[in-house]
Symmetry: C2
Subunit: 381 residues, 2 copies
């Protein structure tokens, strides 16, 4: 069992209507002003925007707004938020939306307390030492961003989809109200399921030492995500399934599953970041293309764990059977499992691999994942 530090000070407020208290949560944490960040307006189609504004006003908070955050959120919007936060001397940042909004508020929070270019953190030129406090109200369950310090941002001119991770941008309070997640499309439900599963199996398969306890927790998360996804495809209004899906997705990337493992890394996310940087595919859709291909390529390197996965998750014998079952399940829920299904030109494999190889070096996997190796993996997709 490997040494580790587990520290996750985010308070989760889970349940119906809790978003109506968000102003109070911010005020009680000691802040008087907030930058409200959201997407392209879906929160205005429901009552969520009005409820949020009402809650901020009721708590006596000053606030500014930044809207227009899109899927694979851009650095430009982050700069815009940082400028507002600095100009107006904003004390806290609140994201109301999905993973992209959460990504953006964290980058804004870090950038607002930094004199240099916030991109320095993403290219590891500088370390985050201070950040504005972050709050979130989540409308999509997938990324666990509500309970971690991760942020993934795309620099559009250079097509770099890079990330930061710092407990300083862990949300202070995150609201998870499954009712707010009930309007997600079936496509995005599927992509979210893939993403949550991906978060757990990266380290599950790549760690060179993986305690049984951690494997069991991962299997509990995967089985729950699969069971509730199938339920929600049939019954989108099933509150309990929506809630279980959300909470399992949170546990998938809040620091619990890799604690005590040794040597794990995130190759599927690395390759997918290149895909979605270049083609703007939804993150989960990119992952379901990469994962089965990567599993086929990787399985011999950790055969016992692949056999375990087949048995524990699908009650099947043999590594190959487990991979095929997961691939078939991705396809069944409507997430693409080949480059063609994701409308990604096969002739671009070289360019994708080049982009991913840059990230491999940054993430310390350059020795395993050369451009050639990534080409080999992508050819299986």
């Amino acid at each position: 069992m490997n040494d580790f530090t587990y520290y996750n000070p985010t308070k989760i407020e889970f349940g119906k209507g809790k978003e109506k208290n968000i102003g109070t949560y911010i005020k009680e944490a000691g802040y008087d002003s907030v930058l409200l960040v959201y997407g392209t307006g879906s929160i205005k189609k429901s009552s969520l925007y009005d409820d949020t504004i009402a809650s901020l006003k009721k708590a006596g908070l000053e606030f500014e707004e930044l809207s227009g955050i899109v899927s694979n959120p851009s650095l430009d919007k982050v700069y815009e938020g940082i400028q507002i936060a600095k100009d107006k001397k904003i004390q806290a940042v609140l994201g109301v939306g999905g993973g992209s909004v959460a990504d953006s508020v964290k980058a804004i929070a870090a950038g607002a307390k930094y004199d240099g270019d916030v991109w320095d953190f993403f290219i590891q030129k500088a370390q985050i030492t201070e950040a504005l406090p972050v709050f979130t109200v989540m409308t999509l369950a997938a990324t666990a961003s509500e309970m971690n310090g991760n942020s993934v941002i795309t620099k559009e001119d250079t097509k770099q989809k890079y990330s930061i991770s710092s407990v300083l941008v862990n949300p202070i309070v995150s609201v998870i109200n499954p009712e707010l997640m009930a309007t997600v499309s079936k496509d995005y439900l599927a992509y979210s399921a893939v993403d949550a599963i991906a978060h757990t199996i990266e380290v599950y398969f790549t760690a060179t030492s993986h305690p049984n306890f951690n494997s069991r927790i991962v299997e509990a998360i995967i089985k729950t995500i699969m069971e509730t996804t199938e339920n929600l495809i049939e019954n989108p209004d099933n509150y309990d399934a929506r809630g279980e899906f959300a909470w399992a997705a949170t546990q998938a990337l809040n620091g619990l599953t890799p604690s005590g493992t040794f040597g794990g890394n995130f190759p599927n996310h690395m390759i997918e970041h290149a895909l979605s940087a270049l083609y703007n595919v939804p993150h989960g859709a990119g992952l379901s293309v990469v994962i089965p291909a990567w599993m086929k390529w990787y399985k011999e390197k950790n055969l016992p764990q692949f056999e375990r996965f087949a048995k524990e998750v699908f009650n099947l014998q043999g590594a190959e059977a487990g991979i095929r079952a997961l691939e078939a399940w991705f396809e069944k829920i409507g997430s693409p499992v080949s480059l063609e299904q994701a409308d990604i030109p096969r002739e671009d494999i070289g360019e994708i691999a080049k982009n991913a190889a840059g990230l491999a070096i940054l993430w310390g996997m350059g020795d395993i994942y050369s451009q050639e190796t990534i080409v080999d993996i992508l050819k299986k997709a």
Copy 2:
């Protein structure tokens, strides 16, 4: 799925030698003086006491000491600690030991910031609103006290074993070094296993709504505790098993397993607190006496979950088979499963039930657990 707040800001420093940094952890958290609390001297038999003192000195911390904390820790020792903390204007409290030491430091931390009698918190006459910061270095894995705000203290004159729970006394930092836990006797290893399992199955069986995800996490914890206990009985020096046991025990009572469940309570702990208040049996030993008896009495009230338990944990069919298997396992690892095996006079059942019934009222279970009902349960033990 029930509404919940999950908030656990304790930082866990897990791994070999981390206790040698405890002074730094306290200093970095912003404190200059600490009350060091420990037991009856076992930390002086190893190098742990010397290492702790060296670490405090190296960090430039002022410190006082309180030793002599015993199993089922007493209120008198807590008063003593509070007096020292107040007299010397101590800024933080550090417990080095097992669950009893952790219980004691939390009570001292709360009492040191309160003008009244700290027992007020335990009898729910007052609420904790402030506390000294708590730090722990654990030498026994069982209670999860390293990552929760619970403290159980015995008032010896009235034979009341009562508890508090407040995030204000959650440790700021807890060190879990499995090597420090390797000297535990086989008896106490068994009692610890029972305690960790008990923490998960209370809500698992009593919740009127229990999401599959939570059940799976509980089953992951129980299977891990059982597997690692059996391993450690044979191989006390197996670091990995010791570590997995410890981390699973932490997860058993850090707020994760009941999050989203509805209606759970802790009847086995309630009855056991009466047992150990009256007879000073180790907590885990008392629990292994109570649990099978309670399960036999309770099983008809939640038959599907008892059947699930049998199947998922023991691969057996039927509620009764699961109960028998757990009872047999407790006996196999050397924890008592009857009043006789725990040297508790059967003729005292009435008195035990009377003590427990007082706690049942305080814990809001008075309507289910009358003195007569508790007598019925104990007769099965």
